[in-house]
């Protein structure tokens, strides 16, 4: 798609020579792109970032930056801005000194330096805090300074390792907004690490879902959510219902799945290749339909029993017993015509076949 600004080619990494922490990583990041690495703890996100920044070397494979291999460039020559998880603001320097540091080591003149520092501080709305020490700032303020410091020397690539991990929800949302805004305004390329999926979805152009040292799926947020490529991604991103069964018929882009209790449903075959494969069928809670009128006449429906009804204000969240499982969730909008169900009630549910994806078991 885009010309690759950063490219990981068949990169592997092992710390101890026994286990691969990163297995065969192929990742191309376009210029100006905001790419998020999302994945559970220990999946190798930080390791990837560190290899890019130059603090770890790849055991195998090549990383290129703007077409040039960087394996042999020392970290300080890579010109990559980095925001660390704990901010890593130098405690013995004031905020302004922290910001001036990358300019000083680049031998930029004093007046230009001061001007750039002021501009960077204004950019993160911290203009009055230049004389403070990091310890005298709140978490969110420190975060902004760390961001400003990573940007002040105008790098083209900025890496951020869970920069919002320590902030409370509200501040986090503000900062997410500010970071994406800033990144787009400055046109910088951002590689962002998080294990918060909402953060990944709201901020990024593309998200790379990591698990077990591999990218499970690399796609834009909406694709990722609506068209997960495998059951890990489906489970990891957003809320998801799974039903296990066996493929009994494949018919172009529709297949028939017989669930373990004998019920038959339609699904889109994504990760199944042949009749007889075991599969996990994935369906989003908000795509489940309880009103038969809205379904196609030939659609398969399932019997369900209400196990729990939770009122959540804007939505209702209903837990159902379906096909032998009792963790099937349905979310419905709190609309005027929506009935509040009672536990024990017997209903029928269904969905559009294209919302139901047959994935690997």
């Amino acid at each position: 798609m885009q010309d690759a600004f950063v490219a990981f080619d068949r990169v592997q990494k092992s710390y101890d020579g026994e286990t691969l922490v990163v297995k065969d990583l192929n990742l191309h990041i376009g210029k100006g792109e905001f790419l998020t690495m999302l994945g559970p703890s220990g999946s190798g996100k930080t390791t990837c970032l560190m290899m890019l920044a130059g603090f770890e070397t790849a055991t195998h494979g090549e990383i290129t930056l703007d077409g040039k291999p960087i394996n042999n460039i020392p970290p300080h020559k890579r010109g990559i801005g980095m925001v660390f998880q704990n901010y890593a603001l130098f405690p013995h320097m004031t905020v302004a000194e922290n910001l001036a540091f990358p300019l000083e080591v680049r031998k930029i003149g004093k007046s230009e330096r001061e001007e750039k520092v002021l501009r960077a501080l204004d950019m993160v709305q911290m203009g009055d805090f230049g004389g403070r020490r990091p310890a005298q700032l709140s978490g969110g303020q420190q975060q902004r300074i760390a961001l400003a410091r990573a940007l002040v020397f105008e790098p083209e690539l900025v890496l951020m390792d869970e920069p919002l991990g320590a902030l409370d929800k509200q501040l986090r949302e503000t900062m997410q907004f500010e970071i994406t805004n800033l990144a787009h305004r400055l046109g910088i390329t951002v590689v962002y690490v998080t294990h918060d999926q909402t953060e990944a979805l709201t901020m990024s152009d593309r998200v790379a879902v990591f698990d077990d040292g591999r990218i499970q799926q690399l796609a834009a947020p909406d694709t990722l959510y609506e068209e997960p490529q495998n059951s890990f991604v489906a489970q990891f991103i957003g809320e998801n219902n799974t039903l296990s069964g066996r493929v009994t018929r494949i018919d172009g882009d529709i297949c028939e799945v017989t669930l373990d209790d004998g019920e038959v449903i339609d699904a889109v075959p994504v990760n199944v290749s042949a009749v007889g494969d075991r599969t996990l069928v994935s369906i989003r809670p908000e795509r489940v339909e309880m009103n038969k009128d809205r379904l196609a006449p030939d659609a398969h429906t399932l019997k369900a029993e209400v196990a729990e009804f939770i009122y959540m204000g804007d939505i209702y969240r209903t837990r159902l017993r379906v096909a032998g499982r009792d963790d099937f969730i349905v979310k419905t909008r709190n609309a005027p015509d929506q009935r509040r169900l009672k536990p024990g009630e017997q209903i029928e549910i269904g969905w559009r076949p294209q919302d139901c994806r047959a994935l690997d078991a």
Binding site: A53, F55, P75, F84, Q85, F101, V105, Q125, A150, T174
Partner: protein, 571 residues
């Protein structure tokens, strides 16, 4: 936009809170008391319990640490020995102008003082004390202690010749003692006899001697000398004045009184033994006199030397700066404060050497310890723990063993010299002198104190996250810039703590300089130890110690000014 909105809300909330606080004044607890007061009450019990828990340690520290320090500070200025041993002489010397030998009266005062001091066997102590200031006084005092008995013998014989009553202790008691004492003494003697007869143990002491009321006005020196005699023999020998003939100096005092008191005063005396006194007064003028200065000089030439008297006069104050002056190579002369003679100056040089060598040792410890601590803090836990044990290993061997090992290594025929000669770096006839000099002290002490530098450094470096240096590098700093601008400043608290530890330990170090320092490598503490255990000049040792203490505090203050004491982290 979002930020500005939240900012406004935050500010408004803060304003509201402030306004609320201003309106209500002090916050009240549920029972209506001010909250602060309730809180204090609640905390008091806790504090008391905490205090009780540390009380044993506190007491221990007070007794073994704080008290000795104050005792030392006190000893360094204390000089009551002169005025306690020679009280009359000190008074008599107050107006002495140091031009000629003191007057007969001063010598008389010295005679009474010395007689009592000799009987109490404390004259030699004062002699040793004054000997620190002027050599030779010690022997003067010792010799005079033996001859003083005879002073006044001439007078005693003449009084006894005149009237044998003067030989009778009872006659003296009748003249000198207060009537109620005589009664109390008689009562005591009766009880003692009764106990003796009944074979009962009797350990009650004789009532303390009391002088008669009027006698001091008539015969002042005699009364004084007699009281001195009576109390001394009571206290020192458990003898009774009722059984002992007075010292010869008492007769000397009587002779001087009879000559010097106006005849009318003597004639007006109508107390006990008035006849005896007046009889003697009549003829005393014809008695053979004693030239007191001559007598003293005859005992020891020292008494003819103005220097002896000057020393007594100079050091007669109960508190003296003499020890401190001596500790700074100064001396107090009647002309004021002067430098000690060149060949006796030693302490300033020793203080200077102690400081310079301690700073050298401290610097070497930083240079050697910093890389080690850096390595330790950057290695994986397992390896660093193992290496840390190696750092601590010296603590598990005796200091003496380690120091002696250096002797083996450093001596002229030792391992290091042998190796250097073998390598051809040093000629066999020009082996390096590595021990019994400053080099030896510095090497051995650097080795011994190195752990005290490494440990605080290590514990501080351990807390510096690697992300700081990484951040610096990602911002474009080279390895050395990242180290000097980011890592090093954060390790300064550890350096500070290590330096303070090493410097303070080394400035008071004693064993190692003693063993490997030879003559040129010893520290001030070796001199202090010498004065404590060999020369027994505790005052000077205390003064040296106090100066050392002041020095350390001053350097501490300086450090606080330059680096800031909150910039010290021991872990």
């Amino acid at each position: 936009m979002t930020d500005a909105a939240t900012g406004n809300i935050g500010r408004a909330a803060a304003d509201a809170r402030r306004a609320e606080a201003e309106q209500t004044g002090p916050v009240m607890a549920a029972d209506g008391r001010p909250l602060k007061q309730s809180l204090n009450r609640a905390l008091r019990a806790q504090k008391l319990r905490a205090l009780a828990l540390i009380a044993p340690l506190l007491l221990f520290l007070l007794v073994t640490f704080v008290a000795p320090i104050f005792d030392m500070l006190f000893r360094s200025v204390e000089n009551q020995i002169t005025s306690e041993t020679l009280p009359r002489t000190v008074v008599a010397l107050e107006d002495w102008d140091a031009q000629d030998l003191p007057s007969q009266d001063t010598f008389a005062a010295l005679a009474y003082d010395f007689m009592e001091a000799a009987e109490r066997r404390i004259h030699t102590r004062l002699g040793s004390r004054l000997n620190y200031e002027t050599t030779g006084i010690s022997s003067t005092f010792r010799r005079s202690g033996r001859g003083i008995d005879d002073l006044g013998e001439t007078q005693a014989e003449q009084f006894i010749d005149l009237n044998p009553q003067w030989e009778d202790p009872a006659a003296w008691v009748a003249l000198m003692a207060a009537p109620d004492w005589i009664a109390a003494q008689a009562d005591w003697a009766a009880r003692a006899d009764a106990a003796d007869a009944a074979d009962r143990p009797f350990d009650e002491a004789e009532p303390a001697f009391r002088l008669a009321g009027g006698i001091a006005a008539t015969l002042p020196e005699t009364a004084d000398a007699y009281r001195s005699f009576a109390t001394t023999i009571q206290q020192e020998d458990e003898d009774s004045p009722t059984a002992e003939e007075p010292w010869n100096t008492v007769y000397l005092a009587l002779y001087r009184d009879l000559l010097r008191q106006p005849a009318a005063t003597i004639a007006a005396y109508d107390g006990p033994q008035a006849a005896l006194v007046q009889e003697a007064a009549g003829v005393a003028a014809g008695f053979e006199a004693t030239d007191l200065p001559a007598f003293f000089i005859d005992m020891d030439d020292g008494w003819g030397d103005l220097k002896t008297w000057e020393t007594i006069q100079t050091f007669s104050d109960p508190y003296t700066a003499g020890y401190f002056l001596a500790a700074l190579d100064l001396q107090l002369t009647p002309q004021g404060i002067e430098m000690q003679p060149e060949e006796q100056q030693i302490y300033l040089m020793l203080f200077w050497r102690t400081i310079v060598l301690s700073l050298t040792i401290m610097g070497l410890c930083v240079l050697l310890g910093y890389p080690i601590a850096y390595l330790l803090s950057n290695l994986p836990m397992r390896t660093s723990n193992l290496l840390l044990i190696l750092v601590l290993l010296p603590f598990w061997t005796s200091l003496l063993v380690r120091t002696s090992a250096w002797k083996v290594l450093l001596q002229q025929q030792g391992v290091i010299n042998d190796t250097l000669v073998w390598l051809g770096l040093v000629a066999d006839d020009a082996r390096l002198a590595l021990i019994n000099n400053q080099v030896g002290t510095v090497i051995a002490m650097t080795h011994i104190l190195l752990p005290f530098m490494i440990l605080p450094l290590y514990s501080v470096m351990k807390t510096i996250p690697p992300s700081y240096v990484r951040a610096a590098k990602s911002l474009g700093a080279t390895n050395s810039t990242a180290f000097w601008r980011v890592y090093f400043p954060q390790s300064v608290p550890g350096i500070g703590a290590g330096c303070i530890l090493v410097f303070i330990l080394s400035i008071g170090y004693y064993i190692t300089p003693e063993l490997v320092g030879g003559r040129t490598g010893i520290f001030i503490s070796n001199r202090i130890a010498f004065h404590i255990s060999d020369s027994l000049n505790w005052g000077l040792a205390a003064a040296l110690g106090s100066i050392l203490l002041i020095l350390v505090l001053a350097l501490y203050w300086l450090y606080d000014r330059l680096v800031g004491i909150d910039n010290v982290k021991l872990g």
